[in-house]
């Protein structure tokens, strides 16, 4: 996440390192704040600098760009983690029912809507204020088959499981790097997610976990899904977990899917051909740590 922000900054500033550092510490020196609002969950700030518009949560603790779009080229994904999320398409290249937990600026649902006009998309966001800001400032548009639900992801997913609804592409993107929703990290939660997955569904999780939490989280995903793809990119501090109920596709299938997706993903700036080689099932975490459960999930204390 940190590296993402740095990269985003480098993209817009070709200044010496000192100035770059200075700009990192002084929020909003260059970027103009065009909207500010305080919801019950967080402070939401929209900034603009040239044609680049950014969504920032809780700016008090320094800049935290949640998402940015280039107004002249809104398709381009400016962040590593959003681009990396698209790796889920290597596992299921043709999703028809999509669930996205965490709206942000709406970059991911908007891209998936453009890529899959026929797909039914449900977006979950706990904070109504974020939904309003995405609609007003980030060109987030809903339609008859793209619905935003203002709800806690756990509540929605538990009920979807009871009602027997299924999705074939599920993305967990409810983690800001600031505060970790601990009830969305547990074994029981992941089992509930599994309940709503079709047999060929893929789960993509962006969790920004570091240090001990990274290990706890990995151990928990392993306990529920068995082997999963652990996906990291150089220059990006975070990882994306890609999991499936049935055995993961082999390298040949991944590369075949990457080739097929390459052209459609180009406008989004997603280097999909680089992805297959970076998907690994190797455990680079401490496997002796405890699985996170509803009884034990101190995510915010484990970082």
């Amino acid at each position: 996440m940190k590296a993402d922000r740095l990269n985003a900054r480098m993209g817009m500033l070709t200044l010496p390192g000192l100035l770059l550092l200075a700009s990192l510490f002084s929020a909003g020196v260059k970027a103009e704040v065009i909207h500010e609002e305080r919801s019950v969950y967080r402070n939401i700030i929209v900034t603009q600098e040239g044609d680049r518009r950014c969504l920032i949560f809780n700016a008090v603790r320094g800049e935290r760009n949640q998402t940015c779009i280039a107004l002249n080229d809104p398709q381009e994904m400016l962040f590593h983690y959003t681009r990396m999320s698209m790796a889920g398409l290597l596992v299921n290249p043709n999703p028809q029912s999509i669930l996205i937990a965490g709206l942000g600026g709406g970059t991911i649902p908007t891209a998936l809507r453009e890529l899959y006009p026929e797909a039914a998309i449900d977006v979950l966001e706990i904070d109504q204020a974020v939904v309003n800001v995405a609609r007003e400032y980030f060109q987030y548009v809903e339609d008859d088959d793209l619905h935003t639900h203002v709800v806690d992801a756990r509540v929605f997913i538990k009920r979807a499981g009871l009602e027997g609804r299924k999705y074939d592409f599920i993305m967990l993107d409810a983690f800001t790097g600031e505060y970790i929703p601990e009830h969305l990290l547990t074994q029981e939660f992941l089992e509930e997610v599994m309940q709503i997955m079709t047999p060929d569904a893929v789960l993509v999780a962006n969790t920004f976990s570091t240090s001990n939490l990274y290990s706890h989280e990995s151990v928990t995903y392993r306990a529920v899904f068995g082997e999963f793809f652990n996906f990291k990119m150089p220059g990006s501090g975070n990882r994306v977990i890609i999991a499936q109920q049935r055995p993961l596709p082999n390298m040949g299938q991944l590369k075949q899917n990457a080739n097929a997706l390459q052209a459609t993903l180009r406008p989004y700036g997603v280097p999909i051909l680089e992805f297959p080689n970076r998907l690994t099932t190797r455990a680079d975490w401490d496997e002796s740590l405890r699985v996170l459960t509803d009884q034990f999930s101190p995510g915010n204390l484990l970082r």
């Binding site: 709800v151 806690d152 756990r154 009920r159 009830h183 029981e188 509803d294 034990f296 101190p298």
Partner: protein, 210 residues
């Protein structure tokens, strides 16, 4: 034993018990957020439900505890509050999941779901814990001129206990233990308080009889 206890040791025990009671209330409240979150999330109204029910239970507990204290106040009834609140906390350990599953199925809106669950899980034990405060003041007060001072002391220790219960639970206990293990610790603390009150009461009434 109609007169309030004036025994110095008993007074210390009552003050300690009030401290543990205050500790237990806030530890249980803090864990409440974690108990409810798998069913109702962590939206702001889930905390709203929990805090509302705790405040409501405490307020009624204060009222009933105060009324009971005017009728033959004695340490045995006081000890009974602790045994009952320990007993009534057990459903939080054993039946939280089946109870919340039923509520989740019956009520779609997580605001009311969390409110109803909070009532079912926490109303009775927290009510009992609320009764401890006025009753312990009655046991400590030996004369009218001391009543304000004793009330102040009781508020002080029980609220200090609450502060510490909040801090220890949120900073350390959730990192070291599972929720139910912490709950068992709280139940044990309440039982120990009740037993100590009974023992000290028995010893001091024997001394008084001699």
């Amino acid at each position: 034993m109609s007169a309030p206890v004036k025994n110095a040791l008993m007074n210390k025990v009552i003050v300690c018990a009030a401290f543990i009671n205050g500790f237990a209330i806030m530890a249980i409240e803090l864990l409440g957020g974690r108990v409810l979150s798998p069913y109702f999330g962590t939206s702001v109204y889930v905390w709203g439900s929990i805090i509302t029910i705790f405040m409501l239970s405490l307020s009624l507990g204060y009222l009933w505890g105060g009324r009971l204290s005017s009728r033959n106040p004695n340490p045995r009834t006081f000890a009974l509050f602790f045994f009952l609140s320990a007993l009534l906390s057990l459903p939080i350990i054993f039946f939280a999941d089946p109870i919340m599953t039923e509520v989740f199925l019956a009520i779609e809106d997580p605001r009311y779901g969390s409110l109803v669950s909070a009532v079912l899980l926490y109303f009775l034990p927290i009510c009992l814990m609320g009764m401890v405060s006025p009753y312990s003041i009655r046991l400590l007060v030996s004369s009218e001129e001391h009543s304000g001072r004793m009330a102040g002391l009781l508020y002080f220790v029980s609220t200090l206990g609450s502060a510490l219960g909040t801090l220890m639970t949120s900073f350390y206990f959730v990192l070291w233990f599972e929720i139910n293990q912490i709950m068992w610790g709280i139940v044990a603390g309440l039982l120990c308080s009740g037993i100590t009150i009974l023992i000290v009461h028995r010893v001091s009434s024997r001394q008084a009889a001699e």
